[in-house]
Amino acid sequence: MTRTIKIDPVTRIEGHSKITIQLDEDGQVADARFHVTQYRGFEKIGEGRPFYEMPGLMGRICGICTISHSLASALACDEIMGVRVPDTAVKLRKIINYASILQSHALSFYYLSAPDFLLGMESDPAKRSLFGLLQSHPDVARDGVALRRFGQQVIEWLAGKRIHQTWIVPGGVASPLSAEVRDRILAELPHIYEILERGIVSFKRSLEDYRDEIRTFANFPTLFMGMVDAENGLMEMVNGRLRVVDARGQMIVEGFDVHDYPTYIGEAVEPWTYLKFPYFKPHGYPDGIYRVGPLARLNIADALGTPRAETEWAEFRELNRNVVLSSFHYHYARLIEMMHCAERIEQLLNEPDILDERVRAQAGPNAEEGIGVVEAPRGTLIHHYKADRQGRLTWSNLIVSTTHNNLAMNRGVLQVAKQYVDGTRLTEGMLNRVEAVIRTFDPCLSCSTHAQDQLALAFELIGPDGTVLDEVKRS
């Protein structure tokens, strides 16, 4: 008889979701789905509000990547104002985004996923947690805490608050950087490099232990998308162009202007989840499956432009002699990106004009549309607004990092379920691996859930021959 296994809720991710695995008559996995069961609706909340409120309002979508949302929002607002943001403000915005990525990656790697690596996928779930890690590997926990603390501290020093700041504003930032704060951040960096070097060495050493997971954790060909510097193809997180490469590393689009995103990205909706399914439009749905985030960024860049991270990146790219396909390596990519972020912060802090006091352009609404795109911790983040002549928002569209990965997450759940789930004998290790494949993507569901048109969720009763015996839809 056909049976369905539910993992509800999925743990150690941001937000609420469940996974269903459908078994066939022989107890083998027939299908699997990742359902997102929460709804947010920030696209509607913004309507009717003045555009200049958006960086503060949209930053409330999330407590982890609040900076990236505020920044994408501010970039869209810059366009509505029609201003050129002062160079120093551009750099300060970049610094705070790097700090945000660093603290978010530290959370994902050390707090959420390290228990799987260090305590084992099969270990007692009651102990396989951050708390368990504190007891068994306090040195690793200490490193994770120090990294997250550093990223959050940089945010607080720059913006006055760790979360939900109002420093990133349309036209720039609210206040310049002081020499004291610059020097404090610079003084902490040697210790941060030391921790990251230790983490990278240790993780690389453990890769042999995860050969099966590397082989089966969402390891398949897809496209990859991320931002690069328009001039030289270096990894970029703000003010760049979007590049798409295929699974063999062939350039599909070398770098499109972020304003052209509707030409390249479509959004499909399925009735069983609140999370949409973006796809690469020229390849159609669902063939246009692509991945974003740390793995994608390391796959699409020509170089990183920071020495420590670049050395690690070159070694990383040798894993598959070009493009790295296994989503297990999102973890590895996060470590390399943390190093890159720390190095970029140092580079930017040493720019001669970084203490310049001209950090904000002022203007009222001068355009009726704006698009802001940044690389957030989990991938490409798009804020697109339309406003009336008074600057009140009339429409908004957000395509949030986690959403881009939805097709890949679902396919990944199916791949890992087929490898590990045996319907005749369920073990904790099987179910944890199904959850762990989702954790590799580090999804942030608080950010990414919204619906198009009606909110819809479907419940299906499936009989032994696979026919739908009953169906209930609510909207």
């Binding site: 150690r12 407590g63 959370l107 707090y111 959420l112 009651a126 947690s129 951050l130 708390f131 368990g132 504190l134 007891q135 306090p138 926990a141 200490r142 805490v145 120090a146 997250r148 603390r149 959050q152 501290q153 607080e156 020093w157 760790r162 979360i163």
Partner: protein, 156 residues
């Protein structure tokens, strides 16, 4: 980090959400303390919520005083408790963390177990968007005063 957040043998951490009525009393008390002349060695932090990243600050302190609000009556009454590390009672650590769990984390990671106290204001007003209740607002000076008294005792 403000000057009052640097260094100190006594660490006062006031926490709560000021957008939810009296939930923000701990944070508001901490902010008031930051505006006062504090005894040497007393450090104050105001936080929206407790997080694991505070474990190092806690480990570096000799005494920690947490300021919070909780559901209970009569509204405005302040309770005083000495805390122990919540060893073997793992709670979630990724978002909000309970003070006892944070003490246990500081002990596990840094091997430090400072003495810790909790001052909580009882309230029944935690609705989103609500202002401070009358009783909550009236309790604020006492919360500040008791935190300061406790800090003086242990900073000496």
């Amino acid at each position: 980090m403000t000057a009052t957040e640097q260094g100190g043998a006594v660490l006062i951490i006031g926490y709560g959400n000021t957008l939810r009525g009296d939930d923000g009393l701990g944070l508001l008390a901490a902010e008031r303390l930051m505006g006062l002349e504090l005894p040497a060695g007393v450090r104050v932090m105001a936080r929206h919520q407790l997080a694991l990243e505070l474990a190092e600050d806690i480990a570096n302190a000799g005494v920690v005083i947490f300021l919070d609000a909780r559901a209970g009556s009569p509204p405005g009454q302040i309770d005083y408790t000495e805390l122990e590390p919540a060893r073997g009672k793992p709670g979630p650590l990724e978002h909000h963390v309970e003070p006892g769990v944070l003490l246990a984390a500081a002990e596990a990671i840094y091997g430090a177990t400072p003495r810790a106290f909790l001052l909580t204001v009882r309230s029944d007003s935690f609705e989103p968007g609500a202002p401070l209740s009358e009783a909550g607002e009236a309790s604020l000076p006492e919360l500040v005063e008791r935190a300061l008294r406790l800090a003086r005792e242990h900073a000496a």
